[in-house]
């Protein structure tokens, strides 16, 4: 009987950050119990029962001795069922049923069924990508997740359906045919911008938002087409590259929103949580290791918050840091986790509690102080980050004014793509004007334009942060025109999206 120490490697995820976990197993004389150490959570603890039953039912032998399994590093909390497979292999190696040397070179992740079948787990894609990052060349993966695993380049996934195949693979008896990665899928066609009649202001703002990634605030009475515009904005965004799509899919996989056999979506995500969303659901959180929230699920895409002022202020304020940094940092006693969250935020709100302020057809019945209090719910720092603030008129009115026939999404998307390319060439690949470096930005702006903006800011009483943010919008306006430098005219338009309407009582 082999009395060695078997080691198999698994992967733990702290947020999206992968950590190598060495699953060590050894047998020693004593009662036939399984002792599992190394901070396992309930799911990992139960792995013992699953693994023992799966091994026995599969005609393999469970040792009649005391089995000790250690998950190292011992101080890192382990969660989930992805350690079933490495654990089973470690026990099989410790009992000499698979070659010890092969086991010590093996990386594996997957859950075992009681019948010995290997199943995919939540967060399968980030686990595979993580193994690649940690230097694994080959990885035993559940067959159900193989096609998805094949998306990760530089690593050979070895698909296994049950323990028999696992043993065969470790004994070198199993040949792996190259896997066909899942096909990128364009997803359903987005609604077209040509459907938007009139509303030239909103169309312009949507184009700027798509081109520069600037956050957008739409203010208008109920039913004036705020959601419609958000969907069209999403349609203007270019497809994700494969790497970006994998990054997005990894977050969705981690949140349990994606099954391994789902096609890889190359359209940016569009998320529209309901306004009773909690802070944890929005930016991420939860007990133990925090899960990604809607913000991260919308990474590289659009996050729509309808009825923005109905969302509790504490929840909204949780958005401030992530919007600035493009990532969410969740600090917990046991872990400090960051998830990406570079989103284009589209906020929509009524102009006043009754919704009819500024409506030419219906009188607003709100008291001025109530309107002020309503608006004050949007804290200054968050409002500062909403670069494009656009008032919308009710739709019937807009339809009466038979607006210019709408440009189609394809036409506008081409301009958007060109502006994005110009920005990426100027800064660095993939960087939007929204995230442009302030110092570099000022270098591409003429002096009169800077002076104009400074004068406008004095009038607005805006912060220094607002200065750079408006300059970034002006940069996008210039990019859409194909201009190399930002001039005063571009700045003037950028300021227009920030000028607050004077209070009604003034």
């Amino acid at each position: 009987m082999g009395r060695g120490l078997a080691v198999v490697r698994g992967i733990a995820l702290v947020g999206l950050r992968p950590l190598e976990v060495r699953v060590e197993a050894t047998c020693s004389p004593g009662l036939p119990v399984l002792k599992l150490v190394g901070l396992p959570d309930a799911a990992v603890r139960e792995a013992g029962e699953r693994v023992r039953t799966a091994i026995q039912r599969h005609g393999l032998r469970w040792p009649g001795e005391r089995v000790v399994v250690n998950l190292a590093p011992a101080d890192l909390p382990k969660v989930g069922s992805s350690f079933d497979l490495p654990l089973a292999i470690a026990v099989l190696a410790a009992t000499g049923q698979v070659p010890m040397a092969a086991a010590s070179r093996t990386w594996a992740c997957g859950e075992l069924g009681l019948d010995g079948s290997v199943r995919a787990v939540t967060g399968q894609l980030p686990l595979v990508a993580g193994a690649r990052q940690l230097g694994a060349r080959e990885l035993l993966v559940p067959a159900g997740a193989a096609a998805e695993a094949a998306l990760v380049t530089g690593l050979t996934p070895v698909p296994v359906t049950d323990l028999t195949e696992v043993v065969a693979a470790l004994e070198g008896r199993r040949r792996v045919a190259p896997l066909e990665p899942v096909r990128p899928c364009p997803g359903p066609a987005a609604p077209d911008l040509a459907d938007v009649r009139g509303q030239p202001l909103a169309r312009r703002a949507v184009e700027l938002a798509a081109a520069g990634g600037h956050h957008l605030l739409l203010t208008g009475p109920p039913g004036c087409g705020k959601t419609m515009l958000a969907e069209r904005l999403h349609g203007l965004l270019p497809d994700l590259t494969t790497d970006e799509a994998i990054e997005v899919a990894a977050i969705h996989s981690l949140a349990g929103e994606r099954r391994p056999d789902d096609p890889l979506r190359i359209r940016p995500p569009l998320r529209a949580p309901h306004q009773v969303v909690s802070a944890a659901a929005l930016v991420g959180g939860g007990a133990g290791v925090p899960r990604p929230g809607e913000l991260s699920l919308a990474h590289r895409g659009v996050l729509v918050l309808d009825e923005l002022l109905e969302i509790p202020r504490a929840v909204l304020d949780a958005l401030r840091q992530p919007l600035e940094r493009g990532e969410v940092v969740l600090s917990r006693a046991r872990a400090r986790i960051s998830y990406p969250g570079a989103v284009l935020l589209v906020g929509a709100t009524n102009p006043c509690p009754c919704g009819h302020l500024g409506d030419p057809r219906r009188a607003c019945t709100c008291r001025p102080d109530r309107i002020e209090r309503y608006r004050a719910r949007l804290s200054g720092p968050l409002l500062d980050r909403l670069d494009l603030q656009v008032p919308l008129q009710p739709v019937a009115r807009a339809a009466l004014v038979d607006g210019s026939p709408g440009e189609a999404t394809a036409v506008v998307a081409a301009r958007v793509a060109a502006a994005r390319t110009a920005a990426a060439e100027r800064w660095e690949p993939g960087r939007l004007n929204r995230d442009a470096d302030a110092a570099l930005l000022r270098r591409t702006t003429t002096r009169p334009a800077l002076a104009r903006l400074a004068a406008a800011l004095t009038g607005l009483g805006a912060s220094a942060r607002a200065f750079d943010r408006m300059l970034r919008v002006a940069r996008t306006i210039a990019d859409l025109e194909g201009r190399e430098v930002v001039g005063p005219g571009h700045v003037d338009e950028a300021v227009a999206y920030r000028l607050p309407p004077v209070p009604v009582s003034a």
């Binding site: 009139g198 509303q199 030239p200 202001l201 909103a202 169309r203 312009r204 102009p351 006043c352 302020l357 500024g358 409506d359 030419p360 009188a363 607003c364 019945t365 008291r367 001025p368 102080d369 008032p391 919308l392 008129q393 009115r397 807009a398 004014v401 607006g403 210019s404 004068a455 406008a456 009038g459 306006i477 005219g489 571009h490 003037d492 338009e493 300021v495 227009a496 999206y497 000028l499 607050p500 309407p501 004077v502 009604v504 009582s505 003034a506």
Partner: protein, 394 residues
């Protein structure tokens, strides 16, 4: 015992007395009124019930009425009020004195002008004066009209008085304060209370009014809180100060109706601005119209309602230089034309862009420049020119 005697109170009150007001009268009245259940309004009624002022100046009649009913403990209590008035920079005047608004004192004590008036800043000027009053709970229509009327009146040299509340009152004060006419507030509480909070704070409306040369008036002792009865009572002062009262907006039980009633009792004209009949805030002006008061559908209505001798006075006031700088606009001509045609209504940005046929960015950039230059303001319902594009000739 603080040892304050009436004589000492007289000396202390001297620096607070307005021009032409006897410190001795002031001291006696203050000492008289600090005792519970004595009100100066009650004193006026007593004079009316008795023999009027008996041909004497009001101050002398009042002094005679209270002189024998005050003692040194009253003087001590009154003395404690003075620092609070002093801190607010107030001057006190007694009805009928030269420093007291003459219009308010007309036919006193038969009319209900307050016996004592405290004023911070300048008192209301003797020239033509209009009261623009209405609800706190005002719509954007109401505040817009109030501001329009007040701006035109002030620009024509007409002083604007109102109650300093939020809503219509505030809109009128704001619009008038920088014009040559100026504006005064009649407070519904004492000077040292700071109500409404948003206006009384640092940099608030009241401070701006004082800086612009306007005044804050109150008949109350400095620490009197804005109780309903007190706030309503000040409406009669607003009416008493004005040659014309304009009611802009108000509910069926609005204080603006009291102001209108008080003006009618003094035989001064009342105008009402017709309101949207769907809105509860239109009840007061529409009811007044139904009862036969004049309609105010244009600032010219207001100026015409001023008594002719006062209009003559207004005509001597130099006109605001609005007309001089007119033809200059920072807007594309098509956009300016639309705004001029719609004035004083606002035009939504979408409509301006659509009708001008220019790209959205061009129009927005021009609107920004115009806003920075003060030519245009953006309101909840769209963009509007700040000034009348075609001021009426003459």
């Amino acid at each position: 015992m603080s040892g304050v005697t009436l004589r000492r109170l007289t000396r202390e009150v001297e620096e607070l007395a307005a021009r032409g007001t006897e410190p001795a009268v002031l001291a006696a009245l203050l000492a008289w009124t600090v005792r519970p259940r004595r009100t100066l309004e009650g004193l006026r009624r007593a004079l009316v019930a008795h023999r009027g002022t008996d041909g004497r100046p009001p101050a002398q009649a009042l002094l005679a009425a209270v002189r024998d009913h005050v003692d040194d403990s009253d003087a001590a209590a009154a003395s404690r009020l003075l620092p609070r008035w002093r801190a607010r920079g107030c001057r006190l005047s007694v009805v009928g004195d030269p420093g007291y608004p003459a219009r308010l004192a007309e036919a006193w004590p038969m009319t209900d002008g307050p016996v004592l008036l405290a004023a911070a800043g300048a008192g209301p000027p003797p020239g033509p004066t209009v009261a623009i009053v209405g609800a706190r709970n005002a719509s954007s229509y109401g505040t817009g009209i109030a501001a329009w009327l007040a701006e035109v009146a002030s620009a024509a040299g007409v002083h604007v008085v109102s109650g300093g509340a939020v809503g219509i009152d505030a809109a009128a004060h704001r619009a008038a304060l920088e014009g040559p006419g100026g504006t005064s507030v009649v407070l519904g509480c004492g000077h040292d209370v700071g109500y409404p909070r948003g206006h009384a704070g640092a940099g608030g409306l009241f401070e701006r009014i004082l800086v612009a040369g306007g005044g804050l008036l109150s008949e109350q002792l400095p620490a009197v809180p804005p109780k309903a009865g007190i706030v309503r009572a000040r409406n009669r002062i607003v009416a008493g100060l004005a040659d014309v009262v304009v009611v802009v907006e108000g509910g069926p039980r609005s204080g603006a109706l009291l102001t209108a009633g008080a003006a009618a009792e003094r035989g001064r004209p009342v105008l009402a601005v017709p309101g949207d009949i769907r809105v509860p805030g239109s009840a007061a002006p529409n009811r007044l119209l139904a009862e036969g008061v004049g309609a105010c559908t244009d600032p010219a209505d207001l100026l015409e309602a001023l008594p002719s001798d006062r209009v003559a006075a207004a005509a001597t006031v130099p006109q605001a230089p609005a007309g001089a700088s007119l033809p200059v606009t920072l807007l594309p001509s098509e956009v300016h034309r639309q705004l001029a045609r719609a004035w004083p209504r606002a035009v939504p940005g979408d409509v301006l862009i659509d009708r001008s046929g220019l790209p959205a960015g061009t129009v927005l950039a021009a609107l920004t420049r115009a806003q920075m230059a003060g030519e245009v303001v953006e309101r909840a319902d769209g963009f509007v020119l700040r000034r009348d594009p075609e001021p009426a000739a003459g």
